[in-house]
Symmetry: C2
Subunit: 336 residues, 2 copies
């Protein structure tokens, strides 16, 4: 069976092909009754407008792209789901790609989304090769960064202050009496959120008059198993840290899981903190002290800002969202 043509739609709806074209490209210039008849014909025939011609005419594909570092845990899931719901309310379809934290793959995906005609893009974090920003500027694709607020960066952002948030957790750990700290961090190279979180921990350590270079920091991927392995390594050191501050909840939950197997009780023997406040933070036992990130608010705000960028063709002000420390049972003074 051949794919239906513009002609087929026009015949079925009893209008000219020009009217069908107008309905698809500039629907507000067609009276409602005609438009509905045409769209009914489009739908019943399963007609897919010639994409390129339509984009050229409409200058809009009503598709947005997002590239996230991973789908393999819930870090980006909730924020992205809210982003897509809000975009849908504004009439846009979201297409998501996941780059496995690999700059080359992210670049391929940016090109794929641009050549597929995405009206706008959402990227995570600011750290990438400047040539990518040059490419986006040349292609004139509105692009917004989320998860990382930086008012001085090249692209506008909707995010939060990763450094200040981790500084606050660490200050609380120190305030509860811990002096032998350790950190399990995400891989910092290419990840401004991980880098900022390490800086935040060091800020708090310095502010407490302690030596930041005396705090062991293990960089590893964000995963349950990698968090567990890093924790096991830290617990084998002498003297043993009394508090392990993790770069995110996934690592922290991995650490908590292996603690029991090492014969260590949380928080009596060792306190553990996370970052993100994913669902696993409250499912874990004991519940995890962590930084609450307003993922859904961030996703909705990002959708609003990106739609404005696409439709009003202007660069908006960046939006900073507040995070909150959530104190739960996994953190207690040394000795419980």
């Amino acid at each position: 069976m051949a794919a239906p043509t513009l002609d087929d739609v026009a015949k079925k709806a009893g209008v000219s092909t020009a009217t069908v074209s107008r309905c698809l490209n500039t629907p507000d210039r067609v009276v409602k009754a005609t438009r509905e008849r045409v769209m009914e014909a489009v739908k019943s025939l399963g007609y897919t407008p010639n994409f390129a011609a339509r984009v050229m005419a409409a200058k809009r594909s009503f598709t947005m792209g997002a590239i996230i570092p991973t789908m393999d845990n819930a870090i980006f899931a909730r924020g992205l789901q809210a982003f897509q719901e809000a975009l849908h309310e504004s009439g846009y379809t979201l297409l998501v790609a996941s780059s496995a934290y690999t700059p080359e793959i992210e670049e391929e995906q940016i090109r794929a989304l641009v050549s597929r005609g995405a009206d706008g893009l959402l990227l995570i974090g600011h750290e990438r090769d400047p040539s990518v920003y040059d490419f986006l500027a040349r292609q004139n694709i509105p692009t917004l960064v989320a998860w990382s607020f930086d008012a001085t960066a090249r692209l506008p952002s909707v995010g939060f202050d990763n450094r200040a948030a981790m500084r606050a957790v660490t200050a609380e750990v120190i305030a509860q009496g811990h002096r032998r700290l350790a950190m399990i961090s995400g891989i910092c190279a290419g990840n401004d959120r991980a880098t900022a979180r390490v800086a935040g921990l060091r800020d708090a350590v310095v502010a407490a008059g302690m030596d930041p270079d005396a705090v062991p920091i293990m960089e590893t991927h964000y995963g349950i198993e990698t968090g567990a392995a890093a924790f096991e390594d830290l617990m084998a050191r002498t003297p043993r840290p009394t508090a392990v501050i993790c770069g995110n909840d996934v690592q922290a939950v991995g650490a908590m899981g292996i603690a029991a197997k090492l014969g260590l009780e949380v928080p009596c023997d060792v306190s553990i903190t996370g970052f993100d406040d994913l669902e696993i933070a409250t499912i874990a036992s004991p519940a995890l002290t962590t930084v609450h990130v307003p993922h859904r608010d961030m996703g909705r705000a990002a959708a609003r800002v990106l739609v404005e960028m696409v439709e009003d063709k202007r660069i908006p002000a960046s939006v900073e969202l507040a995070t909150e420390l959530r104190l739960r049972a996994s953190l207690a003074p040394p000795g419980g």
Copy 2:
């Protein structure tokens, strides 16, 4: 700044525009050194080939689309991540849309991915309006279903037997001595996995000589809070069920969370089972008895089959993957 043209690339690489075209559309017909010089020029100029022209020439966009019901928890995350990794190894970029379990949104997204030139599509489950299948057939888009094996369905699938898996969990619950069962299920309308799981539970109940209509079944969304609310409702009934079989791990973990607040101990007062074997199943305390779904294997197999469909233009045999019962502490004989 104007977007770079084919001419700019040809000049920079010192070749004809036809050669640039060949490099982009049929790279295997160009010698490696030339191809690399051209691709270097494409990259440094930030050239994006005219999408429509390229697709018409190459008949291939090297983009696959997947539509999943939700991104808002880990149900589809791990399988999809494996799917995308395997596609990437075959040279394809994956674009993902999430339909919020809403047929109309899924249909919009199918049309968006088709009109964006996706070479093939992955959909979850078989249950949708026949007009969608007609549309896909007319557009001649290779489409594969995952998460649900059905050799008799209109589209080929890479999935597992949801009904048999749930029958096995339920048989085990009954074998451990439970007679007062209850089920928390996903919404069955439009969801063949949820429907099959309910049927599997009923199969096992009937096989044990019990009355399937005496088992209360609460249908609710797959969520922590919705699982908790359904569980609270079930626990208020007289006589109280001694085992609650959940449609997935997310609902089961929600049930376990509220059990403590209701003063009930798991498994002494009530056993709880899940489905999927997500990471939360082992993080939960006690650990959750559940069905292990080989999500990563399924994702990789789906990529392999879909690439074959696109490249060899033939309908493959469906692939069934085995699931496994994972017995953990959340299930015990009545009374603990």
